[in-house]
């Protein structure tokens, strides 16, 4: 049988990594081939090899920019988790609180960050802080909505069991509501981690800050002005890679926390 002859290929964990990598390599090869055979100029579409060379040559500069963007991403992500969870706990305390505040949380979600970013950048003189606030605004909503949903999605039978045993509000929260909410919370984390990165890049675009504190978005802007398309692609590649890594990190976190009991992490 094929399965016993090639155990590595049959391993689903190997497949999950190898299969998308293989697809990526095929696409890159196709890209390279098309660029070379059609003689596409580098200032329009650079070949993957060109981009790779730029990535190495401009490495130190791009890497420094990546660190700046990462700093904003992580700061805003942490802030979104902290504030989002606090807001969620507040919302589930009473229907009145939720009814009066939830529309404003939605307002936060539907207002495009590019539209508010200029204001925030004017009001907050510290650039890092201003960018962090913008990215937090983008990332916070899924944390709030998912955590609220989770805190409310308690098995009614278990709730009866807790009532029957005269559990205090605090005991019910700690032993029932929080564990029940965890799968939803981790779902929110996954979405929010990506949004924090998007928020950070968009805010950098709007702020357009240069100098030593410039992030990847600024490098993209600059590369665009200078028609340095390989560098633009290299920066883009780094952003995409960061997004994928963030997502994987959140998935791993969920697996570690929920793997022993929740259906979503089985198999």
């Amino acid at each position: 049988m094929e399965n016993s002859a090639r155990p590595l290929l049959a391993d689903p964990r190997f497949q999950r990594i190898a299969a998308p990598l293989f697809v990526g390599l095929v696409l890159l090869a196709l890209w390279q081939l098309l660029c070379v055979t059609l003689k596409v100029p580098t200032y329009l579409v650079p070949t993957p090899l060109d981009i790779g060379r730029t990535l190495v040559a401009d490495g130190p500069m791009l890497f420094a920019a990546l660190l700046v963007t990462l700093k904003i991403t992580f700061l805003s992500f942490a802030l979104a988790v902290l504030l989002g969870v606090i807001a969620a706990f507040l919302f589930v305390q009473s229907r009145v609180i939720e009814a009066s505040l939830f529309p404003y949380a939605i307002l936060l979600q539907v207002t495009p960050v590019v539209a508010v970013a200029p204001l925030i950048i004017i009001w907050v003189s510290n650039t890092t802080l201003a960018l962090t606030i913008c990215a937090t605004l983008v990332a916070i909503f899924p944390i709030i909505s998912n955590t609220v949903l989770g805190l409310r999605s308690v098995n009614p039978g278990l709730l009866n069991l807790f009532r029957l045993n005269r559990a205090s509000r605090w005991q019910t929260l700690l032993r029932l509501r929080i564990p029940s909410a965890l799968p939803y919370f981790f779902g929110g984390l996954r979405i929010a981690s990506g949004l924090a990165l998007i928020g950070a890049v968009v805010a950098e675009f709007v702020a357009g800050t240069g100098g030593t504190g410039a992030g990847l978005a600024y490098q993209i802007l600059q590369a665009g002005f200078q028609l340095n398309i390989p560098r633009l692609f290299a920066a883009l590649f780094l952003i995409a890679l960061t997004g994928v890594l963030l997502f994987s990190l959140m998935a791993a976190l969920a697996r570690v926390s929920l793997g022993h009991w929740h259906e979503s992490e089985q198999g």
């Binding site: 278990l158 009866n160 009532r163 029957l164 045993n165 005269r166």
Partner: protein, 279 residues
């Protein structure tokens, strides 16, 4: 997997022995329940359950048997009338000899907690010291045949074993009153019969009053010392039938003439009730 009969310090009083408390364990007096939408779940219901009885509430769906059990558990309050526990208007869980536990229709285990942690939950909530709690939980798990399964997660257990874990959680409280709401309804017949006999053995071995909700006539006759037949729309008591049978009931009892006769009688009562409520 038979439940081990435990040597218990609190043996059931012999039939006819004078009880220090003549008060019924449970008393529902003129209890009514009307929901806000106008549905009358229970109508002027009167029921008294004595210490050491095994009473089944038997009836079609919608007869209010689960509602009545929830009232006995203190999870719902009557719209009119009152419920008394050991003669008192409220349930005092800390009082020795007056502890209550409930087993639900589903196992209702916390999926994130191991079986032993699930069974220890009521003790943890009540602030029982960890060491004592662990000992009581282990004893309860062994009683239901899950002695070796304390460290596994609920999803690793079959439906029947999950139900056993749920019963262990109730037993760890060392209850004197056990309320069970169709606990074996979702199980296959074979598993249900086995759990029924284990439950019956357990009840005989200790000072335990059981109120058991079911819609299975066979289960009610096999388990009970008394069956309360209820009718629907509105929920009310139709008949209160004492069950004749040996103290020790086994598979032979399930095929004996008295068993079949009593099932037929209850079946006739239920058919009559359904005919009444049909128009």
């Amino acid at each position: 997997m038979l439940m081990h009969t435990l040597s218990v310090d609190t043996a059931r009083p012999a039939p006819g022995a004078p009880c220090e408390a003549a008060l019924p364990v449970l008393l529902a007096n003129q209890v009514e329940k009307t929901y806000p939408n106008g549905t009358q779940a229970l109508q002027r219901l009167k029921l008294s359950i004595e210490r050491g009885e095994f009473v089944s509430l038997l009836g079609p769906s919608g007869c209010g048997k689960s509602t009545l059990l929830k009232m006995f558990a203190g999870l719902e309050s009557p719209s009119a009338g009152h419920v008394r526990w050991w003669g008192k208007g409220s349930l005092d869980t800390d009082q020795p000899g007056q502890r209550m536990a409930m087993v639900f229709q589903e196992a209702t285990l916390m999926p994130w907690a191991r079986v032993a942690d699930n069974a220890r939950l009521p003790l943890d909530l009540a602030g029982v010291p960890k060491a004592e709690g662990n000992a009581r939980v282990q004893a309860a798990l062994e009683l239901v045949g899950l002695g070796k399964f304390g460290g596994v997660y609920p999803r690793e257990l079959s439906g029947g074993m999950q139900m056993r874990a749920s019963i262990a959680r109730a037993l760890a409280v060392q209850p004197n009153l056990l309320l069970m709401d169709e606990p074996f309804g979702a199980l296959d017949e074979f598993t249900r019969n086995r759990l029924d006999s284990d439950l019956r053995d357990l009840w005989r071995s200790r000072d335990l009053t059981v109120v058991f909700v079911t819609h299975s006539i066979y289960e009610a006759v096999f388990l009970s010392s008394r069956v309360v037949v209820m009718g629907a729309r509105p929920g009310r008591v139709l008949a209160d039938v004492a069950i004749e049978g040996p103290e020790v009931r086994d598979e032979a009892f399930r095929t004996s003439a008295p068993f079949i006769e009593q099932c037929a009688r209850l079946s006739a009562l239920l058919a009559e009730a359904n005919a009444d409520s049909a128009h």
